[in-house]
């Protein structure tokens, strides 16, 4: 069984986000970029399946500008076998990415597609669910634990009230939550080896996908700032403030 993982190049989670002065977006020039953390979990899960013999090949997919090659290389250094990059400088929204993924899935016929539950840039939490819909496949969102057996996957999901177990038919789409695994660091020898692994580059047009954004971003602004508070010395003072100043207890 092939497993396809999708990896997105995003601003590193440690970088302080700056909104552009003209309110058209956030500053990305000279900013450290990394693989979306939830996608690292997806890559790790796929590699573990291969190590256990449940998967035969792990394919890392990305879509975006040429630099997404680096993100795919990171996945290859972790242990993925080869990469597919749909290269475009156009803005890509979740529905467009889901359509690009579907085109690649149609070609590669994986048994599972594993993606991060959300990207930490647009925070949409939609691509995996959309891909499953377009394919007519089942979906296991917010996966905390996976067990692949007999043509189906048991998925333990993180939900509002705790955990939920479902059984879904394969082929299927999985979206990862934080506790699914702890992604490995790529070793230096594996980083070197990854440089020789193949990455196929495709264009959206060649896949017959219209990636035009459906949502138009009118402006991007700084969030409202909280006014700075005070430090109190004692619990007595704190309780007095909460009762009489804030009136919340």
């Amino acid at each position: 069984m092939k497993v396809l993982v999708a990896v997105k190049r995003v601003i590193d989670y440690n970088v302080k986000i700056r909104v552009k002065a003209d309110n058209t977006g956030v500053e990305t020039a000279n900013v450290k970029m990394s693989m979306n953390p939830f996608d690292e979990i997806a890559v790790e899960e796929a590699i573990r399946m291969k190590e256990k013999g449940a998967a035969t090949e792990v394919i890392a997919f990305s879509a975006g500008p040429a630099q997404c090659q680096e993100t795919i290389r990171t996945a290859l250094a972790m242990g993925a076998d080869r990469g597919v990059l749909v290269q475009t400088d156009a803005e890509l929204q979740p529905l467009a990415v889901a359509k690009l993924l579907k085109a690649v899935v149609d070609k590669e016929q994986p048994g599972l597609v594993i993606v991060g539950k959300q990207a930490i840039d647009d925070d949409s939490n939609a691509t995996g669910q959309m891909l499953a819909a377009l394919l007519g496949w089942s979906v296991g969102t917010f996966a905390n634990k996976l067990n692949v057996a007999d043509g189906s996957v048991e998925v333990k999901r993180e939900v509002d009230g705790g955990l939920e177990n479902i059984k879904i038919k394969m082929p299927a789409v999985i979206t990862t939550d934080l506790r699914l695994n702890e992604p490995r660091y790529a070793s230096l020898p594996n980083i070197m080896k990854a440089k020789k692994k193949p990455i196929e580059t495709l264009a959206p047009d060649a896949l017959g996908v219209d990636v035009a954004p459906r949502l138009k971003t009118l402006k991007v602004e700084e969030p409202p700032k909280r006014k700075s508070g005070i430090k109190v010395k004692t619990v007595t003072e704190l309780v007095e403030k909460l009762r009489n100043e804030a009136g919340v207890i």
Partner: protein, 311 residues
């Protein structure tokens, strides 16, 4: 055209956040319908009919809807959607699971986690863990919107909308529900609690969370945690407050032993009053706190619990 709110429920009542979703929906179009799908969903449908501003409740009975599997619910919503300008769901674990599937089946975008309705086609939503606010305009004919409940004041009760039965769509046969391991708690639900007491890695163990439980119970508060505390196994996953966990906006949020990573702040910085207790005076949590105490939480929390008691 009207707005369809898709309501999650527990078989008896719709979730509390449905009233928030209805309030958001009413800003998109004054005519709001609520879909209650389930197996024996009569009581839940009645609870939806009582929300002010709801013109009509659609009740869909089908055994396939008992456990809210996305593969089975989405086709029902897709079937009803052409009669509506918008489909709205609360951005909780049900809405996030179902709404994007509906959107893709309709070949439309989803507006995720809207916090403000600017006009029927324009919404404000947080991006980058709330470090930027994007105003987006949808050109799709049917707009699929998930809304962040804490940003919309819940519609009041006392309404009496008509309940209309709609036919179910059966099962897609792709997935089945096995079981749930839900946290049992007598405390108020995190996202609707007036006061939230939240603990982080500073607590050092799951046992030490008992100290926070005592404080929470004195205050009638919900109990939350940072990702670090959940990852360390101190508390279950459903306690997590943050960018990828729950978003809360109580009147009072007490952050105890939480350093305040931006991913955590994203889930609580809309709280009315924030208290931070941390031994590290440089901790970023103090930048959003209205009242901070620098010191040993193991000394401060029992003192605070005692002081609250003395009221």
């Amino acid at each position: 055209m009207a707005v369809l709110v898709v309501a999650a429920h527990d078989g008896k009542t719709v979730r509390a956040n449905v009233a928030n979703a209805v309030a958001a929906a009413a800003q998109m179009d004054p005519e709001v319908h609520v879909l209650v799908a389930g197996s024996n969903a009569g009581e839940a449908a009645t609870s939806a009919a009582a929300i002010q501003g709801v013109a009509k409740v659609l009740q869909a009975e089908d055994a396939a809807y008992a456990n809210w599997l996305a593969e089975d619910i989405a086709p029902l919503v897709v079937k009803l959607a052409p009669g509506y300008s918008h489909v709205v769901m609360a951005a909780d674990s049900v809405g996030k699971n179902v709404a994007p599937r509906v959107a893709a089946l309709l070949d439309v975008a989803q507006v995720s986690e809207a916090i403000q309705v600017v006009s029927p086609d324009t919404f404000v939503r947080p991006i980058y863990a709330g470090n930027a606010m994007a105003t987006v305009q949808s050109s799709d004919k049917i707009k699929i919107v998930t809304v962040r409940p804490t940003n919309f004041k819940a519609a009041a009760g006392g309404g009496s909308a008509a309940i209309e039965q709609v036919a179910g769509t059966g099962t897609a046969g792709l997935s089945s529900f096995v079981g749930a391991e839900l946290s049992k708690s007598e405390r108020p639900e995190l996202t609707s609690a007036k006061i939230v007491v939240s603990g982080g890695r500073g607590l050092q163990s799951g046992d030490n969370f008992k100290m926070l439980e005592t404080l929470a119970d004195k205050l009638g508060a919900g109990l939350g945690a940072s990702r670090a505390a959940v990852d360390a196994g101190y508390v279950p996953n459903d306690y997590q407050v943050g960018q990828t966990g729950k978003v809360v906006a109580p009147d009072l949020y007490i952050a105890i032993g939480i350093s305040g990573a931006i991913q955590h702040l994203a889930g609580m910085k809309d709280s009315k009053t924030i208290v931070a207790i941390n031994k590290d005076e440089e901790a970023p949590i103090f930048q959003v706190a209205d009242y901070g105490i620098v010191g040993d939480l193991f000394q401060i929390v029992p003192e605070l619990t005692a002081a609250v008691e003395k009221k």
